[in-house]
């Protein structure tokens, strides 16, 4: 699905990623954990194509394409989706209008015809149930006046609508109460299939009680320093990150 090799990247002269390696296959869920400032959100931003970051070296292959050569929208057309840590408000643009535009742009890139209004609305009804999103939110302006929980649920709703191959969830659990967390996790689990993959970026183990990862990676100082299974996440929860830091320095 995606393979990241020796990725180095900087912003405003400061190197954030320092040789990151990661391989994700179809059907897998990977969790990336790490202390503040380790480079978790940087990784998400670079995968999605934010231009502020400068790639110093390394390569990223996504579905056989050189990801770093592609524009943000081309990456989306190939099936890369980022659930934003801070979803953006777009006043006056309804959620459905936004999504229909997005879906048709993606279809157009694949040489497919635009979706019919009927099929689209049926899809909205079906997918909004997955995240228990009130249908009125679908016709409201994108994220405008949404509560923190609604914004995050809306991200997962968009993910359901766009049906990506690879979804990157950037701190989707931040600011969520336990009920919202459960709904978001249920949504992600429902969408999981043998053909897609998910990278869950999180600070806390809490989300992983609901979205069970196949692999847990610890990102520290711009590199993945430890990889394990769900037990690793529990250990981090219990012991914090200090032992990782020490281990890394010793190593």
């Amino acid at each position: 699905m995606i393979e990241i090799k020796n990725l180095h990247a900087k912003i405003e002269g400061k190197e954030i990623l320092k040789g990151l390696n990661l391989k994700v296959n179809a059907g897998e869920v990977h969790a990336i954990m790490g202390p503040n400032g380790a480079g978790k959100s940087t990784l998400a931003s670079i995968l999605a194509g934010r231009e502020e970051y400068e790639i110093i070296e390394g390569e990223v292959t996504f579905e056989g394409s050189d990801l770093l050569e592609l524009s943000t929208e081309e990456r989306a057309h190939l099936g890369l989706f980022l659930a934003f840590q801070y979803p953006v408000e777009i006043p006056g643009v309804s959620n459905v209008n936004f999504l229909r535009t997005a879906i048709n742009e993606i279809r157009d890139a694949k040489g497919e015809d635009p979706i019919s209004a009927k099929d689209f609305m049926a899809m909205v009804r079906e997918k909004s149930k997955i995240v228990e999103l009130d249908s009125s939110l679908a016709s409201r302006s994108v994220n405008e006046g949404f509560s923190g929980g609604e914004k995050k649920r809306n991200e997962i709703f968009q993910m359901a609508m766009l049906n990506p191959k690879l979804a990157v969830l950037d701190e989707t659990d931040s600011g969520l109460d336990i009920d919202a967390l459960r709904i978001v996790a249920k949504g992600v689990n429902t969408l999981k299939s043998a053909n897609n993959a998910t990278i869950v970026i999180t600070h806390y183990q809490r989300l992983l009680d609901y979205i069970v990862p196949d692999f847990v990676h610890v990102l520290y100082d711009g590199r993945i320093v430890k990889t394990g299974n769900k037990e690793l996440a529990l250990k981090l929860e219990e012991k914090g990150y200090d032992w990782i830091k020490e281990e890394t320095q010793v190593g």
């Binding site: 999605a48 194509g49 934010r50 524009s71 943000t72 929208e73 990456r75 989306a76 057309h77 989706f81 980022l82 934003f84 979803p87 953006v88 408000e89 777009i90 006043p91 006056g92 643009v93 309804s94 459905v96 209008n97 936004f98 999504l99 229909r100 535009t101 997005a102 879906i103 048709n104 742009e105 993606i106 890139a109 635009p114 209004a117 609305m121 302006s141 968009q158 766009l162």
Partner: protein
Amino acid sequence: MAQYTENELAKDLDKQDYKFGFVTDVETDKIPEGLNEDIIRLISSKKNEPSWLLEYRLKSFEIWKSMAEPNWAHVRYKKPDFQKIIYYAAPTQTKKYESWDDVDPEMKETMAKLGISLEEQKKLTGVAVDFVMDSVSVATSFKSKLKELGIIFCSFSEAVQEYPELVKEHMGTVVPNTDNFYAALNSAVFTDGSFCYIPKGVRCPMELSTYFRINAGGTGQFERTLVIADEGSYVSYLEGCTAPQRDENQLHAAVVELKAMNDAEIKYSTVQNWYPGDENGLGGIFNFVTKRGICETNAKISWTQVETGSAVTWKYPSCILKGDGSIGEFYSVAVTNNYQQADTGTKMIHLGKRTKSTIISKGISAGNSENSYRGLVQIQKNAHGARNFSQCDSLLMTDHCGAHTFPYIECKNPSAQIEHEATTSKIGEDQLFYCKQRGISEEKAISLIVNGYCKEVLNQLPMEFAVEAQKLLAISLEGSVG
């Protein structure tokens, strides 16, 4: 569910240049350039006008000569040389068309290019169109159907001939020839325009629409529009404007007068797309227009404008809320790009009790343009319980454009309530990135965001016009984020 016109935009975005910049090769009857009494007499005689109108023109000319060109607007331009303008240019084939088939094919093609093929419109849309090319009105459709209801919708010249008493009674009562420099000029030299009268209690069953086009070089366009909605009537009136691409600046100085009698309602919508000049600021239309309406008791006038064109715009559609309980509304989107300058807004003059006004202004500045909102809310002594709400938003697309707001409030009645809100924002990189991450191209993302920003205003437009306006916004702003 809303129309997803964004999807249609892609085709139009290929042609980001001014797509109305063609010149139609129609023979025109021009008079010599320059302005003096003889020219005015010539215009009047060409139009076979009654003597009272000639006198009105000459009086206006005297007034104009005593006036100075206004300087207070936040715009800079080379003042027009009024002796270098041709004040009358008409397609030579000006005889009345008996039927649509008689209209010059070239002219029909012009209209087709403008996307207002009357033939189609007749069948499909139910919009009655009066088309004013250069100075003369060439075709009005649907006239007979309207006539059955007693509605008069015709060119101004025709109204002068056919309904002189109505014209004489109302012309200049809302915008007097002493009002301002350009209104005085228009009153002296106006050549045509549109006239509309809705009788008592009649609800006009279709949108009435006028298209203005400046075609001949070196000419100015000075049209007058007079809309009278008699007691308890309703009319929705649309106006669209285009001009060919020329290196010179052409002057457009129109006067629009609206009269809403007791309990009447007039909805007046404009999509103004005069040639804005090229990307270096060369050429383009100077659009100096006086638009004003009077509301009698419980009457309502609503102005909606989408302004994307003209090199310099100077325009303040206003409402005089004379009657008790009358309502004035102003919804505006003004887009400036490259070196365009716009100074536009409204005046709401509250005279009657419990009068209400709403002002929603959305300015969008791109390139090196300057975009100003200038508005006056005036509450007079007797306007007990008057209310106003104003919202003026500015959206900046680049770092080198300007957005300015000049709101004036004068309140002479302590029971009045006035609210004013204003915001200025730059189009968000975060918003663009969010759209792109969802697979939406930058151009389409800008169009989505801008249309969302203007939604409150676009919602006021009749459907076909709203679609047209959305496309215009996208074309005007193509490639403008920076």
